[in-house]
């Protein structure tokens, strides 16, 4: 028999995974960076907001997500810049475990509403990262008009994603001029961050949609165990990891010469967000052997059907009875870098359950997030191949979609996204 999954092993792995803060962390986390941290210590980890790249991309994927997409409602470039400056200050404070505002949730006047909403009182930073991005609509409105004098800086690659087969997009769960990705090991901390940033932005921005993710489905560091999606399978085994400097440079970070309009984006990335609803109830009725053939891996260990263990390279040519042992329409084959000129992504997705639908089925699935250097080569062809040939599509329905350019990290004294406005 294949080794059974040990629940204890998974939990232990999760804890160890949070202990890798080392290279990225500052202050408290550095002091707490032994290989096996306690859960309490893991929550205490904090990551620097400033750096060459924004945090929340190669940062070891935290357990929880609150993602918000916003539309800019002002016509004033000055107000937009002021908001980014205010967000930078608040985000830096919150990622240190401090209150959103300078005064604090209970330290101010009894006659004024507090400048921090208070639900994080007594909680540590919990590994919070806040990552900001710019959607195509920030550069040009629906009629193509230049909104803020930024149109000549819109990268060619930053366009609304094309319609893919089986897309069933809900406009109220798609698109947006700006995005905020807040990740933390405590859901209260992630929600607190988005809530306070939205509050700071009222009058300048309006929330278009937001999404909670309750469990990570990807590992972004070799020190993390691979998590499972709601199909019950390990997800993102072949992910680009924080330790792979060369792969990050090739597949994740935008280069200075990538785009004639996009020099400001050097050191940044593109964030693809896709809300993938799973037909959970139908999937659950598939025999185990069919499930494994659809994915191309064993459900227990995550080994490819061609053998080995989780991280063994799949052997797509290995013959099996009635065709290759990894079927022609298996997910692992369709999206494998070998089929796409070596293209890889850094995935950072989260499981979501938004209650149940009107028929009592789980409104649940994968909130897919991928960071790529260029969506035209790093995402769109792979998504098209998946929509066309992947057996897994039978159990997926895409209900939300968005693309954002993620500017490089803010250096000391800068605000996030400053290079775009310079």
């Amino acid at each position: 028999m294949a080794p059974r999954v040990s629940r204890r092993g998974l939990l232990g792995g999760g804890v160890a995974a949070a202990g890798v803060a080392g290279a990225f962390a500052t202050g408290r986390a550095t002091a707490d960076a032994p290989a096996a941290m306690t859960p309490a210590a893991a929550r205490a980890a904090s990551y620097a907001f400033r750096g060459e790249h924004q945090a929340g991309i190669v940062t070891p994927a935290q357990d929880r997500l609150h993602f918000a997409a916003l539309d800019v409602v002002t016509d004033s470039r000055e107000e937009l810049v002021e908001l980014l400056q205010a967000w930078t200050v608040a985000a830096e404070r919150m990622t240190k475990g401090q209150a959103a505002g300078e005064i604090g949730p209970v330290e101010g006047s009894l006659d004024l509403p507090p400048d921090d909403t208070g639900e994080a009182i007594g909680l540590p930073a919990s590994g919070l990262t806040i990552t900001f991005g710019f959607g195509p609509g920030l550069f040009r409105d629906a009629e193509g008009r230049d909104r803020f004098g930024l149109a000549d800086r819109q990268p060619e690659a930053l366009q609304t994603l094309p319609h893919f087969p089986a897309d069933n997009l809900d406009p109220t769960r798609s698109y947006g001029d700006l995005c905020i990705q807040a990740c933390a090991d405590d859901p209260q901390i992630a929600v607190h961050a988005v809530r306070n940033l939205v509050r700071i932005g009222f009058g300048t921005v309006s929330v278009r949609w937001s999404q909670l993710g309750f469990g990570r489905t990807s590992s972004t560091s070799t020190s993390q165990d691979t998590a499972r999606n709601l199909f019950g399978f390990k997800d993102g085994t072949a992910n680009v990891k924080a330790e792979e400097d060369a792969a990050l440079a090739d597949h994740v970070w935008v280069g200075g010469d990538d785009d004639a309009n996009g020099a400001w984006l050097a050191g940044g990335s593109y964030l693809v967000a896709r809300r993938l609803n799973m037909t959970i109830e139908v999937w659950d009725r598939q025999p185990l052997g069919d499930q494994e053939n659809i994915v191309g891996r064993t459900k227990g260990t995550g080994a490819p059907l061609s053998g080995g263990e989780e991280f063994s390279e799949p052997d797509f040519a290995m013959p099996g009875r009635g065709g290759p042992i990894i079927p022609a329409d298996a997910h692992v084959r369709i999206v494998h870098p070998d089929q796409h000129g070596g293209a890889r992504m850094l995935r950072r997705g989260y499981n979501f359950v938004d209650g149940s639908d009107s028929l009592g089925g789980l409104n649940a699935g994968l909130f897919f997030i991928a960071y790529v250097r260029d969506p035209r080569t790093g995402f769109i062809p792979i998504q098209n191949a998946m929509a066309k040939n992947d057996a897994l599509m039978e159990y997926l329905k895409t209900t939300g979609s968005a693309l954002f350019a993620i500017p490089p990290g803010a250096k000391p004294g800068e605000y996030v996204g400053q290079s775009l406005f310079a």
């Binding site: 028999m1 139908v282 009725r285 059907l305 080995g308 042992i325 929509a387 066309k388 057996a391 039978e394």
Partner: protein
């Protein structure tokens, strides 16, 4: 559209039901094969050896836990004493992967075989099943039950395909006439009933299905929309924004195209045969079609005739179930009883929606009625998902 080929999925199981004496299941051992009673064995299949942990076991439910320690895909067989007839088998075991094989075997002499690389006679050893207290039933007439199920189902599929061809021909004539749209609309859902009854078979032809049954949202970039639902939208454009009706020339083109593809489908179906696991899997697959497309009102977005399709999927699933039911009653009578009553309960709900012309339209159903139908589909689908394994056991 369904991409996972139901035909191919059926082949994966590849059960030797016709030759049944012992039986197999790939489920993990639960009951009879507990450690300590001699019925839980391990098999180490390497590139040049096949080591079975014991050369004998007591009669009953025996489990072989087969681990592939070789470098290529292997298979494990339990053969009858003649070394030819397959009693049970497990295929497609990749290197360093383990798969269980559970078989219900009476006392007698057998042969075990590992087949690394899936070629040749395999590496064989004698295996003995000794007398025990456990009673292993051997059905004498199973072969005739299997043959009857296969023949009946093939005849049903051919008959539905014939009717589909006839009614599609009538439908496209009415549609092309231009002044007979009311009559075309009246025939639309009725003609499609024959498609939906055999939908898992019809859509197993990956080239025809997208040309005949694609919905607008399923299209790939650059793919031209053809088939039933294009005509549906043209006949029921009320929900379409700024819809431009098809010209008489376009009508003729798309109508003839549908009829031509239906003829191709019908000719291919004449040659099909079905194994019992394909029949049982098809029954399950039809209920999945209901759950994902019909009960949600997505299939017939323009005409709202989803309940006709719903009933037709259920019809086809019931025919498949009825065909294998005599086998199931031998193997798992409780499951047979449960499925029978779940089908009945669903049918009562569908019958309540019947009208003189067929069924109420989807947009006339209340949320409570839709939820009730969905609940009944779930109640049936769960036990139905165990049907294939049960008839093969």
């Amino acid at each position: 559209m369904k991409r996972l080929s139901w035909i191919a999925a059926g082949l994966l199981v590849a059960a030797p039901v016709l030759a049944s004496c012992g039986t197999e299941s790939t489920e993990p051992s639960g009951g009879g094969g507990d450690a300590g009673d001699g019925r839980a064995l391990t098999v180490d299949s390497s590139d040049d050896a096949c080591e079975v942990s014991a050369s004998e076991a007591p009669a009953g439910t025996v489990t072989f836990d087969v681990t592939n320690s070789g470098s290529q895909v292997t298979e494990f067989y339990l053969l009858a004493e003649d070394g030819l007839r397959i009693v049970a088998e497990v295929e497609n075991i990749g290197p360093s992967i383990s798969r269980p094989l559970t078989a219900n075997v009476p006392a007698g002499k057998y042969v075990t075989a590992c087949k690394p690389g899936m070629t040749g006679d395999g590496i064989r050893s004698d295996f003995t099943v000794t007398e025990s207290d456990e009673d292993v039933k051997v059905s004498e007439d199973e072969e005739s039950l299997v043959t009857a199920a296969q023949d009946n189902y093939a005849a049903y599929v051919q008959d539905q395909s014939d009717q589909l061809l006839v009614k599609t021909g009538q439908f496209v004539e009415l549609y092309k006439a231009g002044d007979k749209d009311d009559e075309a609309r009246a025939l639309y859902a009725d003609a499609r009933t024959h498609w939906e009854r055999i939908e898992t078979v019809a859509e197993s032809f990956g080239d025809l299905d997208p040309m005949m049954d694609a919905r607008e949202a399923d299209l790939e970039p650059g793919q031209k929309w053809t088939g039933w639902h294009l005509l549906e939208k043209d006949l029921w454009p009320a929900r379409a924004e700024k819809y431009a009706a098809l010209s008489p020339k376009d009508r003729a083109f798309y109508a003839d195209d549908l009829l031509k593809n239906t003829q191709t489908l019908d000719s291919r179906i004449q040659d099909l045969t079905f194994t019992v696991d394909q029949i049982a899997n098809g029954s399950r697959g039809l209920l999945e079609e209901v759950a994902t497309g019909k009960v949600t009102g997505e299939e017939e977005y323009w005409s709202r005739t989803d309940l006709w399709d719903f009933q037709a999927n259920v019809d086809g699933a019931k025919v498949g179930f009825d065909g294998v039911k005599p086998l199931l009653e031998e193997k798992d009578p409780e499951l047979a009883t449960e499925l029978e009553s779940r089908f009945d309960e669903l049918q009562v709900l569908l019958d309540a929606q019947r009208t003189d012309d067929g069924f109420r339209y989807y947009d006339e159903l209340s949320q409570d009625e839709i939820k009730g139908l969905s609940d009944a589909v779930n109640a049936l689908s769960e036990p139905l998902s165990r049907l294939t394994a049960a008839v093969l056991s």
